[in-house]
Amino acid sequence: MASILEIEQLNVSYNGIPALQNVGLQAEKGEILGIVGESGSGKSTLLKAVIGLLGDNGRAESGRVVFEGTDLLRVPAKALRGIRGARLGMIFQNPGTSFNPIRKIGDQFLEAMRSHGKTDRTAAIQQILEMLARLGLRDGERILYSYPFELSGGMNQRVAIALAMILRPQLLLADEPTSALDVTVQAQCVKEMMDLRDSLGTTILLVTHNMGVVSYMADKVAVMYAGRIVEYGAKADVLNCPRHPYTRALIEAIPQIGGGAPKGIQGQPSAAKGTPDGCDFSSRCRFSDNICAFERPVMNDCGQGHAVFCHKCFSEVLHEGVRVNGY
């Protein structure tokens, strides 16, 4: 089956400073790809690069972002606008702020739908109410006549998901969709995104800090560090048998109820420097030796699509499994 999204050798920089380096990944129809990593590792930049909203300072230097056969980096602005919102949706980290605070929710829905040729108001409202109901928002009528600030954070997030899903996009970019929410609402939003995937076959790129959400939702996981994907593979492989020392450290850093204090990762995350040699993680890595400091690793294929950007990934010490706290 052809991939819905194929990213190849993507390089992005902000004001000339590299933020993404040689990023490559594929997502199939109906697949949920979890992207994890520390703040500043380039997760959000990756999503913004896909939808073409890097802002004034950001620039995709090279590479390809092929969505349903179209390279989004080379498509004219007008065509890209037609794709955004219709076939490609995005949920932002802070749902409330992606709405205009002084316009009613309903107007913002209708405006997005009108932008993609859905001009029949009655039909559109019917469709919006159905989508809101799917997301457990029964009083859709009231919501449509509300301003964003009149709704709670959890409601805003579900409304934002509904708005991103209203035109049934093939690909949904979710930038930490649950991090601004309390735990019970988180669970609900996660479940609803899963339901939408199951019923509409939406592919989801899910960026999150929350390893629990990833282990529950994702089919595949990409771990990012300093603007690179350092480990990539099926969820079970990456989370249960992490081959990259950074992935291991991330999993060990998850707090467990009844467990001891979580283990942090030593040192500060390095920026994506684009240094000619050496592994970006080597200065914080327990397993690093000479080769890590002087030679840049390559993506090693460990079988079944499990790829690891590390010199040490085949060493025995990294082969014992770790278990992630179930969601």
Partner: protein, 319 residues
């Protein structure tokens, strides 16, 4: 709706405030004029051009009530206002109120025309400049606004008079001869204000364009034009209206310099003439007018806000 009740309650409160403010401000200005050097009778003497005997002056002071204690004079004056008598100008030898009402329409007209021209110039230019940030158009507009800001009102006025009245003979130099006379004073005021507002609109629009909701709208595939006109401009209007209201306030007070240069018979010119001839009765009425304008403009701005910004409207409902 409850929101409506809240706003009317608020208006009532503001009107009550207005009365207190008027009381305070007239008392203060009355007191200031008492302490100012020279009195009205001396001014009248100068005006007449012939000497008056001390007895005649005293008689006149007594007739005008100027020999009464300050507070008595004040309340006599207030009492007269309530009967519709705004006082008599001994300098111009006519009632103050008709004088004022004759000047007011001219000022209102000039205010209206210059604000309209300002809005028509500064909003499109400001938006254009913001949307084309750091492009050639933006630099040209910014340089123009910089020059406009640097030029004082009277200089613009003289420049316009020189070019359009003296050289091209398109417009009269001064006076009020209908439509053609208002054009130069209007543009004098509008050029200076547009320079200020274009920058303001640009800054506000840029500020709004960087907000998350704009990114959100772009991510939904909303057209850039819709984003600017339906989202950004609506938000930016809140800031712009506040500034415009302040300008309307000072324009309604009469623009002394511009009205004097063009001999435009508005309240600004009336006030300047009154001050230079120590015509206190006229000054008093002018002071009342200014107080009414400022409180009134604030009130109107708040009401407009109430309708433009739902957040303020809702807060009112809770409070």
């Amino acid at each position: 709706m409850r929101g409506c009740i809240v706003i009317w309650k608020y208006v009532a409160k503001r009107l009550l405030q207005l009365i207190l403010i008027l009381f305070g401000i007239t008392l203060l200005s009355f007191a200031l004029m008492q302490t100012a050097s020279g009195d009205t009778v001396d001014a009248i003497e100068q005006q007449m051009g012939s000497a008056m005997s001390e007895e005649a002056k005293e008689a006149l002071r007594h007739e005008m009530g100027l020999d009464q204690p300050f507070i008595v004079q004040y309340f006599q004056w207030v009492g007269k206002i309530f009967t519709g008598n705004m006082g008599y100008s001994y300098i111009k030898n006519q009632d103050v109120f008709p004088m004022f009402m004759q000047a007011l329409p001219n000022t209102l007209l000039l205010t209206l025309s210059s604000i309209i021209v300002t809005v028509l110039i500064s909003i499109p230019l400001g938006i254009w400049s913001a949307v084309k940030q750091n492009k050639a158009v933006d630099y040209v507009i910014r340089v123009c606004t910089f020059i406009g800001n640097a030029m004082p009102n009277f200089f613009i006025a003289l420049l316009l008079i020189y070019i359009f009245a003296l050289q091209l003979h398109w417009f009269p130099v001064m006076g009020n001869n209908g439509f053609v006379s208002i054009i130069l004073p209007t543009f004098t005021l509008a050029i200076a204000m547009s320079a200020k507002y274009t920058r303001q609109v640009r800054a506000t629009v840029l500020d709004e364009l960087n907000k998350d909701y704009v990114t959100g709208a772009r991510a939904r595939g909303v057209k850039e034009r819709t984003i600017v006109w339906a989202h950004v401009l609506k938000s930016a209007m809140l800031t712009i209206i506040t500034l415009l209201a302040l300008s309307v306030g000072s324009l309604l007070g009469g623009t002394a310099i511009v009205e004097s240069i063009f001999m435009w018979p508005g309240v600004g010119k009336l006030a300047v003439d009154a001050i230079s001839s120590r015509d206190y009765q006229v000054i008093q009425v002018y002071v009342i007018w200014m107080a009414i304008i400022y409180v009134g403009i604030n009130l109107i701005t708040d009401i407009v806000y109430h309708y433009l910004d739902p957040r303020i409207r809702m807060r009112g409902r809770e409070g």
